[in-house]
Structures are given as C-alpha cells and as structure tokens.
Subunit: 287 residues, 2 copies
C-alpha cells in the first residue's frame, strides 16, 4: 500500500503558532506543515516550489493589517486561494514549577504583548520582552528555563512544548480574530471551486495605484460603486521610492469572472496607473 504524499504547506512561526491553526482550518490535518522564520521565507519557499501552498496572516481585528505581507503579495507571483479567521486567545505559559509570583519577564511577539495591555497594567512588576514569535517564545523558555520568565502564546503552543498555562485569555478584547490567506503559485492550475454547504459568496482581492490628484481614489472606487459591488476592505500602502504616494488594496464581494466584476475591473484599468488581481476565493462567514 503506497502512502499518499502529503501536501507541504509553509507558514511563519514555530510549531504551535496561530498560523498553524489557520492551516488546519483551511486544509485539514492531512498536510505537512513547514515552519519558516520570516514571512519572506514563506513566500520564497512557495515561489521556489519547496511548498505547494502557504498560509499567512493578513489582518487582525484589533491590531490592523500585517503590512509586510501586503508588500510580499505584490512582489511575489502568488495568488490568494482562500481565507479563514482564527480566534486569538492568549495564555501566560511558564515551565512547570515556576509559579506566577516569581514571574518578572514575559516574552512574546510585540503584537501579542500589545493585545494584553490590561493584564500588564494590573501586573506592573512584569516586564514585556519582545520576541520574534509567540510559539517560539514558549519553545525558548522551555529550553532555557529562566527562573523568572514566562511566554504569551496559544494553548496549542503550551501543549506542544510542555509549558504550563498560568493564566488564560489575557487578551484585552475577546473579539480578537486574525484573518489568514491561503496562497498558491499564480501559474498553478486553479483548484475546482470548493463545494460549500448552502450558497457560497466569493471575494476578489485587487491592488491598484493612482496618481495623487484630487478625486483619483474616488473615481477608482466608482468602478465598484456604480456596479453595486460591496467593498469589504480597503488598505493603503506607501509606494516604495515615491514617498507619500499610495497603493490601494481592495477586497470586494464577487467572483472575479462575474460580469459586474469584469466590467468594474475594465473600468478600473482605465483609471488606475497599475492594477493586479491578487485572487478570488470563497468568503469565510462568521468572525
């Protein structure tokens, strides 16, 4: 009996990162996860065919967008093939035997530290120590066993590395979700549209730039508004090398090949200096 070769999927962070939960939600458990240290490494691995797919965070409901990934979406030849929202819950994790009263330093990713400000305000003895990754901070304290340090990460990270959860749900706001994109190479054959129960709504993501003249963005958005296409997200990013000029990333509800969408993109092409479709994918409900 031949064992089916598992699809390799890249993500940033150590095993136990929230991105790994996003991989599970998007592709199920039967994949081989490939942890990478930096977001750029994830895109490079996908472009070089070291992995078949990649999963990256694109925005958090509290912290806002992951700008670096918007930039990578533009510079690598990839397409967005799916999205999912992961509920983010932060836990204070220490090596077994280290009690809460001994903790003085708390390691985690700066975004996670910043989402637990009430906890730190109530515990002024705790110093926040920025680390490159949430799950990685658990791995580090379990390896180095400093007697006065803890980490903030997911419950899964505590389980994987054998840490003990001292406090649960440290996050200031329980409505803390991160939206992730599933990426594939642009050239790879499109998957057959996934079967979803009930009516599937589709999202299309595009990026465009305009000259900095009065009403330019307004005219570009008219391409969508005149066709009743609902924008779910607009994000501006500075254009490298052109200080204070901007790229716009827009998500709207429609299949890319629907007539209204095709007309809108045709219209937008007349108005924008630059336009690229980043992907079309089933919208995830909820969050």
């Amino acid at each position: 009996m031949t064992k089916k070769k598992l699809e390799r999927v890249g993500f940033q962070g150590e095993l136990g990162a929230f991105s790994q939960e996003a991989v599970r939600q998007l592709l199920g458990a039967s994949v081989e996860v490939v942890p990478c240290q930096r977001f750029e490494d994830v895109f490079v691995k996908l472009a070089k065919k070291n992995v078949a797919a990649a999963v990256i965070p694109i925005e958090n409901s509290l912290a806002g967008s992951v700008h670096e990934n918007y930039d990578h979406l533009l510079h690598f030849d990839v397409r967005i093939a799916g999205e999912t929202n992961v509920r983010i819950s932060h836990n204070l994790i220490a090596p077994p035997g280290v009690p809460f009263r001994k903790i003085r330093r708390v390691y985690s990713h700066p975004v996670a530290l910043n989402q637990c400000l009430d906890f730190f305000a109530h515990n002024p003895k705790l110093e926040r120590e920025p680390f490159y990754d949430t799950a990685g901070s658990v791995k580090m304290i379990m390896e180095q066993r400093p007697p006065d340090a803890a980490a903030i990460a997911s419950a899964v990270a505590a389980e994987i590395y054998g840490g003990r959860i001292l406090r649960r749900s440290l996050e200031d706001d329980r409505r803390n979700f991160t939206r992730f994109f599933l990426l594939r190479r642009s050239g790879d054959a499109k998957q057959a549209p996934t079967r979803h129960k009930g009516r599937t709504e589709w999202k299309t993501s595009v990026v465009f730039s305009t000259r900095n003249i009065p009403g330019a963005l307004f005219r570009c958005l008219s391409a969508f508004a005149l066709r009743d296409l609902n924008l779910t997200k607009i994000e501006s990013r500075p254009l490298r090398g052109k200080p204070w000029e901007y790229l716009f990333y827009v998500d709207y509800l429609s299949r890319v090949d629907a007539p209204a969408s095709q007309n809108a993109l045709g219209h937008l092409r007349e108005l924008a200096d630059f336009l690229r479709v980043l992907g079309c994918y089933p919208m995830e409900r909820g969050a």
Copy 2:
C-alpha cells in the same frame, strides 16, 4: 532677570530618538523635552497637563502607519497642531573598542531592523534583536557593554550616549521619511496661525466611520470629491469590538474653516455614523 520657562514637550523613546529631531523641527531647540516609554504615556501626559505639547510619529514612507497612534488620536481629547517629516538614516553603533567583526547581535526597534534587510542579508552572522526603542538600544549597549553587540539608531543617539558609528546609512531605501504630528490639548487656545514664507497650504485631518453597506465609503468620499478637495492620505482601522468594520482617517488639503471644507464636513456628517475633526495645520512641503 527671570529665565523664561521653557515649554515641556513629550515624545516616545529615549533622548536621541528620531522623535526628538521632529520636536526640534516643529518647535525649535528652546523647549524642554520629556521622553516617555510608551506612546500611550505621551498622550496621558498631554491630557493630564504634565506637558504642553507632544510629538508622535504617524507614518513612515516605507513601513506605513503607526496604527497605535491613530487609535490614541481617537481616544484622547487632543488636536493635531502641526506636521513635519524627518529623514530617517540608520547607523550601526557599538561601544568604542568593539570592532565590526566581533558583532553578532544587533539591537533596535523592530521597524528599524526591518528597514535594514539588505544589510542583514549581506551579513548573515548578525542576529536581529528587537528592542523597544532605537536610541534606547544604544543606551543599553553603552551601559551593559556586551562584547558582541551593536545597536541601530540615529547619529544623534551615537553622539548622546558616546557610541561609535561602525557603518552609516544602513537603510535599504534612502527615501525613508517619518511623518510626525505635533499635538496639543483640544481645549487649549488655538495658536495664531504660524507665519510662513510664501503661500501656506493647510491640511485638515478627520476620522469617520460608516456602516458596511455597498458604496458607503464611496459616498463618504464624494463629500470631498464633489468639492475638489484633494485627499493626501486615507487609512482604515478596525473598529474595536466590531470585527471587520472600519474607521477611516482622511487628510485633505484645505483649512478646516474654508467654505468648501465646511460644506464637505456638513455633507459627510449626513453620510457617516461618526465624524470628528482631528486638527487643521500648515502642510509641510518636501519629503
């Protein structure tokens, strides 16, 4: 002879931070600078009248917006009273006697580390160590004198703390500017409009939210477009507690009290769920 009491101005970071250069550009050298550890502390000090003014970074031409400060602008009762752009140039700084070949760890603010990726790609032996502040990382290595560590910060920070510059202009892109806002309390008497040489252009900054319905943002932007008001910036921020709904921050070229601006704001008030004017200030040319 009585010594004139200097105006106290808060900023985030240690002495030598880029924010201190912004203070000098906005208010000259005759002020007392009050360094704060966190952005929130700067806003709290201003609100509590510990300082008369504050200077905060709002966006970088490469890294994008400083989201946390957009949130604070909404939650504190302050107004934007000025803007300035500071050219960001990063230097590798070590204690005197530590040669480049000994360096293994480089401390700095994550945004600064992220703006020197080419330098790190060419020097793969160097580990990037995130620190809460650029100038603070210089202060730390000068106090602790680790034999294998350097910091990335401004030339002014090297001078203040006695560090030696080993490499200059590490930044990937020379067109690296940060835009800073001068803030004052909303209630404080408006300054007389500053005299500027030549014609002064004014900017107004507002924040608004809309329901998430098709064309809502488009209709809001029509309030500006129909009056030929030029937007120089639009930024969306997630609404806390309402996942995937957004606030919009808009800057446009006009005095807030000009007729077109007043008409636009009246129109926008009809369309938006929420609207606040954050300030009106002379536009800085250049960058």
